[in-house]
């Protein structure tokens, strides 16, 4: 019998078509040549429908988190949707206090999406997963007709192990606690906006997208009594702190002068009429801990490359109305509220 020849995918000029999601040989080929090759590990090599994973150590519990990623543009200064979808899910697991172990990834591809871009995104995902030491052990791919998707959507799910006795939750903040951030705010959202049509401006702003489990481990090793960890993604610091205030039934008072913001992000905010506290981050932590541990926590964060600009930015107060307030650098007070609706540049 003649040996079957399958022409390799044209990763330079080719594009996704419906057959790549159709369950036939083309799909197998795409999975093998693009995903399998990049993510290569013992689980994927088996080619089964799911990954068989070892049970966690006795006493440990599992933490699971999932995140759907739609971002425009797909490639932006400092990253792309590939590394972003790995970091985002690792961070959701990490801020629960868990050690991220495995990822699952599902892809919705739009017919016509260039294979070169897909390969680039997958390579970026694989590199991010490898650097983080968290393998992608299972996945799925679907293709939708042209016009029914925005190029590529990626959903990642993460599994992590939570050591016995560790309880981190947004409901744990207590009056008197200190609020800390691990670095400058608004970098990711502004890096994206800089590339949007019509808004385009030039700057050196880069997304802060990063896997935070190392930073989390360092923080929790130094201050195990840390009460809350969160990554302030969509809606920025303002949304995250309002969530925590709601969950914990407390108020928060911030000190504006202490909040780190990159000068270029601040300037871009002036151009667009936006507030850095509402803008997304993908590589920052918000931590709340008892006041007497705050110095140790800030020191532990600063000792890590991803927390070099960590700062204490406020305190938790008793407030039945659960307001987040801020002492302005100008000398007054105001509320820091959730963003109303979609964030749109203002002219007035």
């Amino acid at each position: 019998m003649k040996k079957t020849y399958i022409r390799p995918l044209d990763l330079r000029h080719g594009s996704v078509d419906l057959s790549h999601g159709g369950g036939g040989r083309a799909m197998v080929q795409l999975i093998g040549e693009v995903f399998g090759r990049a993510f290569d590990n013992e689980w994927l090599r088996r080619g089964d429908d799911g990954a068989v994973l070892p049970a966690p150590a006795p006493g440990e519990r599992l933490v699971m988190a999932t995140d759907a990623h739609v971002v425009s543009p797909l490639f932006f200064p400092g990253g792309d949707i590939g590394c972003l979808c790995v970091h985002g899910t690792i961070n959701d697991v990490a801020v629960m206090g868990a050690r991220p172990l495995y990822l699952a990834a599902s892809f919705i591809l739009e017919e016509g999406f260039p294979l070169a871009e897909l390969a680039r995104i997958v390579a970026s995902m694989a590199a991010a997963a490898k650097a983080a030491g968290v393998p992608v052990v299972t996945g799925d791919t679907k293709v939708v007709e042209r016009g029914k998707g925005d190029g590529i959507f990626i959903t990642t799910t993460g599994l992590g192990a939570l050591p016995a006795g560790r309880e981190l939750s947004g409901a744990n903040a207590r009056p008197g606690d200190t609020v800390i951030v691990s670095g400058t705010l608004g970098d990711h959202g502004m890096a994206i906006m800089a590339r949007r049509e019509n808004l385009a401006f030039e700057s050196e702003i880069r997304s802060d997208t990063a896997a935070l489990h190392g930073l989390v481990a360092a923080a929790l090793a130094a201050v195990p009594q840390t009460r809350v960890l969160r990554d302030p993604t969509r809606g920025g610091l303002a949304a995250t702190l309002n969530e925590i205030a709601q969950q914990s039934g407390v108020g928060i008072v911030l000190d504006e002068a202490a909040i780190p913001v990159d000068p270029q992000v601040a300037a871009a905010c002036e151009f667009l009429g936006l507030d850095p506290l509402n803008i997304a981050n993908e590589g920052k932590l918000v931590a709340i801990c008892p006041a007497d541990a705050a110095d140790a926590l800030v020191a532990a964060l600063r000792a890590h490359p991803l927390g070099a600009r960590a700062a204490r930015i406020g305190e938790v107060i008793a407030d039945e109305h659960r307001f987040v307030q801020m002492k302005t650098a100008f000398g007054g007070r105001r509320m820091v509220d959730w963003l109303a609706g979609e964030q749109l540049p203002r002219i007035c």
Binding site: F201, E202, P263, E270, F271, C348
Partner: protein, 78 residues
């Protein structure tokens, strides 16, 4: 209303365009509403258009007036 910011002109381009800068962020805007600009001038920008020049001397004078208010206070308090 009318969000507008002071920026510095760092390059003049053809067709009434210019590159302006604020805090390290650069943007191409229209300068068709303001005549005779030179690089280094400050302009106030609204919806991508320079509306007017900003006069650095006047800005310094205004700030000086504001600072004087504080000095008066110090005098009274002392």
């Amino acid at each position: 209303m009318c969000l507008a910011i002071p920026t510095r002109v760092i390059a003049l381009l053809p067709d009434g365009q210019a590159v302006v800068e604020l805090g390290g962020v650069r943007k191409t805007i229209s300068v068709e509403l303001v005549d005779d600009l030179t690089v280094g001038d400050y302009v106030i920008v609204h919806v991508g258009y320079a509306l007017t020049r900003l006069d650095p001397e006047e800005a310094e004078q205004t700030l000086a007036l504001m600072r004087e208010a504080g000095i008066d206070t110090a005098g009274v308090a002392g």
